[in-house]
């Protein structure tokens, strides 16, 4: 099948993309992906019960559990979103070929770009909804636990006769470990990284011969992408340690070709209580948009006249 022949198309691109996205979403939901949410719920609730003994004063009682809930929940979200984005995307095209759905769709006046963008959007929608549900559960558990910790601390502080100003300061400090806007920003950062991975997996799947190949290569790029910033540093600031030309050129190639996933590690800082400014999130979104668009356009470029 070739797109060399111009086929007149009806309807808007957006409409077509949305229909394909909805179909891809439904297709993935039928694979029982949401069962993972039950596992997430267990992990989030379990993280409440690892309250180790500590020696700190009333000002710190229970705060460790709060960062533990965030750490475990974000870790699970992160792993889930990356695995899902790679595996789900890697599955989509081969599954459509296997089910022969692809032929039916492409036989219709559906531009291949719309098909790819719709598929990608379906995966991203699934990741977004899953993350939103997980975020909701994490925020709820964290809010309840923060209130419990704060109540316990307040009781202790009142018994010890602390002045009201100090009790208020303690309360504010405890709640700063609870749900925050920065935490929501970190969830968005998890989603952005997963979106880049989904679009990258889509690109690989357009020329790959198997789901396994796409999955393996995507995971490799994902892990190596966390060293992109280091390669860039070697290129930009290297030389002092006597690196040779080959090392510089190799690091430059790494920096130019691979996505920089390290910048999305802001999640760790948020778990540790740092505030993420909205401008930082905006800049991360720009980076993610760039990669997602580039990989999608590149996917279309490869896929546009691919024969089936």
């Amino acid at each position: 099948m070739s797109t060399a022949t111009h086929i007149p198309q009806k309807g808007s691109h957006t409409g077509r993309i949305l229909i394909i996205a909805t179909h891809a979403f439904t297709q993935l939901v039928r694979m029982k992906v949401f069962y993972f949410l039950a596992i997430f719920a267990i992990i989030t609730i379990a993280s409440n019960f690892f309250n180790l003994p500590q020696h700190e004063g009333p000002e710190s009682v229970g705060t460790n559990v709060l960062s533990q809930i965030k750490g475990w929940s974000f870790g699970t979200m992160h792993i889930f979103s990356v695995v899902l984005s790679i595996v789900a995307t890697a599955l989509l095209l081969p599954k459509d070929v296997e089910d022969r759905t692809l032929y039916t769709i492409l036989a219709k006046p559906v531009p291949r770009f719309d098909y790819l963008a719709g598929k990608l959007l379906g995966v991203m929608l699934l990741i977004f909804i899953s993350l939103a549900l997980m975020d909701g559960l994490m925020t709820l558990v964290l809010q309840i636990r923060t209130s419990m910790v704060a109540k316990e601390q307040m009781e202790m502080a009142t018994t010890l006769g602390w002045p009201q100003r100090e009790i208020d300061a303690l309360r504010a400090e405890t709640f700063s470990n609870g749900p925050s806007w920065s935490m929501q920003g970190a969830v968005i950062a998890v989603f952005l990284r997963a979106s880049i991975m989904a679009s990258l997996a889509l690109l690989i799947s357009t020329f790959s011969t198997s789901t396994l190949f796409t999955t393996i290569v995507s995971f490799m790029v994902y892990f190596i992408g966390h060293f992109q910033a280091d390669a860039r540093d070697v290129y930009l600031h290297g030389g002092q340690a006597g690196e040779g030309m080959i090392a510089k050129v190799t690091s430059l190639l790494f920096a130019l070709v691979l996505p920089d996933f390290q910048i999305f590690n802001v999640i760790d800082a948020v778990i540790q209580g740092e505030t993420m400014p909205i401008i930082a999130l905006g800049k991360l979104t720009l980076v993610a948009l760039y990669y997602a668009m580039f990989f999608t356009i590149a996917s279309w470029f490869i896929f546009s006249d691919k024969e089936f």
Binding site: L52, Q54, H55, E56, E59, S60, N64, S67, Q68, K70, G71, W72, F74, G75, H78, V82, W162, P163, E166, A169, L170, R193, F207, Y222, F223, H226, F227, A229, D230, R232, L236, A255, L256, D260, F261, Q262, I263, F264, N265, V266, I267, D268, A269, V270, I271, Q272, G273, E274, M276, P277, A280, K283, L284, V287, Y290, F294, A298, F301, I302, D305
Partner: protein, 326 residues
């Protein structure tokens, strides 16, 4: 277009756009690092310690997750009294999550307190070895805590922890220069207070440490007057006793009895508080003028000779050497 031609076009586009985005990403990385939103590179030793699988997860941006699991492991080591493993694990944990107060706080506590106390009574070691292990552990705990402070200079709890460790009477023999140690404790409490987030007791504890530094009595007295002026919340028996002592140090001809009654409210209360201060020898608080005030108060209150605190022997100072030989 053939696939190989497409691949060439795509590669050129990838490289060209890579050149365009590189300065942006480099700038963003710098910006995020400056804002403490991105951690520094993992130490090679840490990578070796956590193993390849955990390192891969950590590189994937889940350092705090690995840190929470290592914290559970460190707790197991603690229950098994594997102190070197506890210290090693906390070194790794704080490398993974350097801005989490809890890990610094717990790590220093295990090293400087739990491990040190264990070594003190470790009958498998010779007394000399016990003492050395005890001292080394305390110094290691201090060093760990100071590293935590360097990583988190705005954390009032870590500064206060250091102040507490350096003013702990059970740890005095571990530090060679007592004056320097009290001075460092006072400075630690001051830095804690300067964060603007510290609880009220921190400034009072700074005063307790400062009052014990020879040569800084005037500074301690100025601080005491400041705290006294803030109201009744700071006027604990220890605080008032030390205020009296420092005033007597500044003005040796002062009527310490009258001042004690003024500070404590009644002669009975004054006598009770000063007696307590007199007997707290382990803490090495200064005692200028206390004996005179107590003697006058004992006469004024007609305390029988046998009940007079000044006539009774002072409690024996805690002999740590004895603990090492038990």
């Amino acid at each position: 277009m053939k696939l190989w031609k497409k691949s060439v076009v795509l590669s050129i586009a990838l490289l060209a756009l890579g050149v365009a985005r590189m300065p942006y990403e480099a700038g963003l990385t710098r910006e995020l690092r400056d804002a403490r939103l991105l951690p520094s590179a993992l130490d090679i030793g840490t990578v070796e310690k956590i193993g390849q699988t955990s390192a891969a997860v950590a590189f994937g941006g889940l350092r705090t997750l690995i840190a929470t699991f290592l914290n559970l492991r460190a707790f197991t080591y603690f229950t098994e009294k594997r102190w070197d493993d506890v210290a090693d694990t906390y070194d790794t944990i704080v490398d993974l999550a350097p801005h989490t107060r809890y890990y610094w706080d717990s790590g220093y506590w295990h090293i400087a307190y739990n491990a040190a106390s264990y070594y003190m009574y470790d009958s498998t070691l010779a007394p000399v070895r016990r003492k050395e292990a005890w001292r080394t552990s305390i110094l290691k705990g201090r060093s760990f805590l100071e590293r935590g402070i360097r990583n988190n200079p705005d954390d009032w709890v870590l500064h206060a922890d250091l102040g507490y460790l350096l003013s702990d009477p059970n740890k005095f023999p571990a530090f060679k220069d007592q004056r320097e140690t009290f001075s460092a404790a006072a400075d630690a409490y001051q830095k804690s207070a300067e964060t603007g987030k510290a609880l009220g007791y921190v400034r009072r504890f700074r005063f307790y440490a400062l009052a014990r530094v020879e040569g800084r009595e005037a500074q301690a007295l100025a601080l005491a007057r400041e705290l006294y002026a803030e109201g009744t919340k700071n006027r604990t028996p220890t605080f008032l006793s030390l205020l009296l002592v420092l005033e007597a140090h500044e003005n040796p001809s002062m009527d310490t009895t009258a001042r004690a009654i003024e500070l404590f409210g009644t002669p009975q209360k004054a006598y009770s508080a000063l007696s307590g201060h007199w007997q707290r020898i382990n803490e090495r608080f200064p005692i200028f003028g206390i004996a005179e005030a107590m003697a006058t108060l004992e006469n004024r209150l007609s305390i029988p000779e046998k009940d007079r605190v000044l006539n009774q022997p002072l409690p024996a100072p805690r002999n740590l050497e004895k603990s090492f030989n038990e």
